[in-house]
């Protein structure tokens, strides 16, 4: 049955993502399962893997910058009023 075939394919795809996530964890890639799933979809849409890795590193850098800005503005003393 086609629906059985589709569900089998989906189960195999899920299993593949699980194993790829475990491989990425062993290689210390700092990727959660959701991010990895999105990246796999992008690669299956024809995105170059090296360009995607570069984009992920840039996004992480920007996110960390945002975190630093948020922390420093939270720790900054309130302006004095006269």
């Amino acid at each position: 049955m086609p629906s059985d075939e589709r569900s089998e394919k989906q189960a195999a795809a899920q299993q593949a993502v699980d194993i790829l996530h475990e491989i990425s964890t062993i290689l210390n890639c700092h990727l959660d399962r959701r991010s990895l799933s999105i990246c796999i979809s992008m690669i299956e849409n024809g995105v170059n893997p090296e360009a995607l890795a570069t984009a992920v590193k840039e996004l992480r850098g920007e996110v960390q910058q945002t975190q630093i800005e948020a922390t420093s503005s939270a720790n900054a003393p309130a302006p004095r009023r006269r």
Binding site: L27, N28, E50
Partner: protein
């Protein structure tokens, strides 16, 4: 056009996923727009070559060997068992996905912890 729309939608999801994993609020408005444009530029106008599946295999085998050389045999065994388990599930995109994972590897021989 549909490709670009799909790519932009997936890029938005990726930005949200990375922000949430780092506990930063989702970017909105111009900030989201700027991040999306920057990421899309990197994804579309790159000069990287195509993935060589044999180089990817060599690289993966090299990691297993390195784990064993530094005495992390348990990590090497776990790594090899995952690669073997992936074998029957491989499709035409598997070398590209593994290439992507290898690009993001961060000193696994020193930093990887099996407890993770």
């Amino acid at each position: 056009m549909a490709y670009l729309a799909d790519l932009a939608a997936l890029t938005d999801q990726l930005i949200a996923a990375i922000a949430s994993s780092e506990s930063v609020p989702k970017p909105r408005g111009t900030r989201l727009e700027a991040r999306r444009e920057s990421a899309l530029r990197t994804l579309r106008y790159h000069t990287f070559g195509r993935t060589n599946q044999f180089e990817v295999e060599d690289h993966l085998n090299g990691y297993e060997e390195r784990f064993r050389v530094i005495g992390r045999d348990v990590l090497a065994d776990e790594f090899r068992s995952r690669l073997d388990a992936l074998e029957p599930l491989r499709n035409k995109w598997s070398p590209e996905v593994l290439h992507f994972i290898l690009e993001l590897a961060d000193q696994p021989a020193q930093k990887s912890d099996l407890a993770d």
